[in-house]
Amino acid sequence: MAKHETPLLDQLESGPWPSFVTDLKRQAEKKPECWDILGQVELSYKDRITHWKHGGIVGVFGYGGGIVGRYSDVPKQFPGVEHFHTVRVAQPASKYYSTKHLRHLMEIWEKHGSGMTNFHGSTGDIILLGTRTEHLEPLFWDLTHDLNQDLGGSGSNLRTPANCLGQSRCEWSCYDTEECCHQLTIKYQDEIHRPAFPYKFKFKFSGCPNDCVAAIARSDVAVIGTWKDNIRIDQAAVKEYIAGNYPSNGGAHSGRDWGKFDIQKEVVDLCPTKCMWMEGGELKIDDKECTRCMHCINVMPRALRPGVDTGATVCVGAKAPILDGAQFATLIVPFMKISADNEFEELIEFIEKIWDWWMEVGKNRERVGETMQRVGLPTFLSIMGVDPIPQHVKEPRSNPYVFWKDEEVPGGFERDVEEFRRRHAA
């Protein structure tokens, strides 16, 4: 029976979408603290304001991240959520699970927590939602000993990396996103668990420019698959598309009658670089003009495939708007081999070069994208030892305010004004 009346939340039980309220109530049967979750959230619905206190520094010994402390600001009314810390548990790459593993995790959480979770947090962690301080160490013990699993990141750390499912189930993945994500996560356990950075730092790995893990929008280093050779074309399949035998866009538009497939309008004309054309019933691509946007491949997955000489474009500096406004990650390395064979050596070297610099010059709470803005892209490139190329920008600068360096200008900056005056009366 309900411990608190929740007339407002109850209204969220109807409707076709899964109801977290119904779910909470169900869990409350076994985990009475869920009544207090319901009760406090109901109060928030009534007051239209949060009832959680600001922050709270808790954690497990030796780690600077992985737990987000949280306390109720109405603990007397809802003692079950007086402490309500979340635990960020490192998710396996691509977020596949065996039921055995999941059930085990749920068992541990049943023992130590509120009974509620998030699958998953926005960064990618498994979020175990709400526990008391005294449960943290035992929970951590069980997690590591019984489940072989660890906490994820929080604080001014490397955050838990994430990836699109890549080659595991996608035909377009230009490198092994899950292997890369896993290996780098393992390599950087120390950076994930012990704050040493000016602020948070995130990696995300997408297998192709569709970017299904939104790397370019959300990660300080975004590794996005691409290729350097030509799009593979199966002309027979092209004909099937034209004939209407294969559904456009893998069937993604099948819910509406968009008329007969028109390769000219739907593929050729929508190519952003206009580097495709039809010739004698065959689809032609001038690959050196292609920017590998994926559109044509998306529309005709059975006819077109990325090239075979694959790697990734590496972009740096994405972040949410606090403080200077949101940033997408900026293209820094146009093409990089991403391979387990050399243990992702190039990428690792690249990342560590960023860190070495940013840990030195980054201000407190300054994301690397902001540091880049502060010093300017040319300076960042030179620090990274990356030659400036036009691919780094959408367009060249339109203001004339170039910083020349003393050594670049014949004769240097030092001049003698008196000598000048002898030739130019004042």
Binding site: K95, Y96, D150, A326
Partner: protein, 379 residues
């Protein structure tokens, strides 16, 4: 055994990282990794991937509330045990995916899912709406300007048919963040629901000394609106801060740095709607979402204003856009003035940028379309 509080360091294990993913691959995935040839969405929520080995994997995608109980996770496991050899996965947008290696296994799985009420809606693929990426809201966070789970539930109930169908011009990605920290890709979503504060922080002088480092609080404000000040607390003069409210843009960064500066307020807080963002590089480069509705109130429990606004935008988009055109691509093609007209959104000065890169958004051209907005000039 277990944790022994008396000897906390004994047998301690750390820095394990996540378990190796491969052990969680269903057999058909493990065997065909890197060999996939093409895919097809057979029906909304049902994907088929074909391997060069001839193998096929059928994926059934179901919506979740993301906020889920142990019981619910166990139910997911039950389903996966029954139909999927004990494997499953979650997507980057918090849907759960059940995979089977044979077409014949799909229908029984679907029947099972359907038998469980509204818990496992099948959909979220192709040119439709998928799950709303969202954050904590009033369920867990200290800085939200709105709830997360409740708003998502209300919106998804209304847009449910778009989840279970593929009738839009393109995929339309909705995201919610409960404050300007934007935990998620709200800044790059077709439709973004953003919790916003509208009142400057209060200063809790009686607590500030204990909980804040004043220089950090002062430095936290991107507009320099937080200034050193003095106040009298219980007869004693203390060092504190004050806020120049005219320069405050309610970002909340000062509160993040200093608990004695709370912003949240029932009347002040609510939701802004941003639209037209995208992440993929398909056709056009990634785009930021743009603020089109500066404020809608927190009308609990179902946020009818927010739901209606989103519905309206979505329907105008569905009607106006061409096949493959993302919402932002549509708005740019027709022009933002037409976007506001088609969606019947009143335009306000709040949509005009006045932050750091503002100038680049001003219209420095005579090119524009006449709309209702210009009626008074052409009357």
């Amino acid at each position: 055994m277990g944790y022994n509080p008396d000897k906390p360091m004994d047998g301690r294990i750390s820095d394990l990282g996540p378990p190796y993913y491969e052990q969680f691959h269903p057999p058909v995935i493990k065997e065909n990794k890197g060999k996939w040839l093409w895919h097809e969405i057979l029906k909304p929520g049902i994907l088929m991937h074909k391997s060069e080995t001839g193998a096929e994997v059928y994926t059934v995608r179901c919506g979740t509330a993301r906020l889920m109980s142990i019981e619910h996770v166990r139910e997911i496991c039950d389903i996966a045990d029954k139909h999927c050899d004990g494997f499953l996965r979650f997507t980057t947008r918090n849907n759960v995916e059940f995979m089977v290696d044979d077409k014949a296994k799909v229908q029984p799985l679907l029947d099972d899912l359907a038998s469980r009420g509204n818990k496992f809606p099948v959909g979220g693929t192709g040119a439709g709406i998928t799950n709303i990426v969202h954050t904590q809201g009033w369920v867990h966070c200290h800085t939200p300007a709105t709830d997360a789970s409740g708003v998502v539930k209300a919106v998804m109930d209304e847009l449910f048919d778009y989840f279970t169908s593929m009738t839009l011009p393109a995929q339309c990605r909705i995201a919610l963040a409960c404050c300007l920290n934007m935990c998620g890709a709200v800044h790059a979503s077709d439709i973004a629901i953003l919790g916003v504060h509208r009142k400057p922080p209060m200063i809790d002088h009686s607590r500030i000394t204990g909980v804040c480092e004043l220089p950090l609080a002062i430095a936290s404000c991107p507009l320099g609106a937080v200034k050193p000040a003095k106040a009298t607390v219980e007869g004693k003069e203390i060092k504190t801060v004050q806020v120049n409210v005219d320069r405050c843009m309610f970002c909340g960064n000062c509160y993040t740095m200093c608990p004695a500066m709370p912003l949240a307020d029932p009347e002040g807080d609510g939701i802004a709607i941003l639209v037209g963002g995208k992440v993929s590089n398909s056709r056009s480069m990634p785009k930021f979402s743009k603020l089109v509705i500066p404020f809608l109130p927190n009308t609990t429990p179902r946020w009818p204003e927010t739901v209606a606004a989103i519905k309206k935008i979505l329907e105008a988009y569905a009607k106006g856009a061409k096949k493959y055109e993302r919402l932002g691509e549509w708005a740019e093609r027709i022009g933002w003035e037409k976007f506001f007209e088609e969606c019947e959104i009143p335009f306000t000065d709040k949509s005009i940028d006045d932050y750091r890169l503002a100038y680049d958004t001003w219209r420095t051209s005579t090119q524009f379309k006449y709309t209702s907005h210009t009626a008074k000039y052409t009357a």
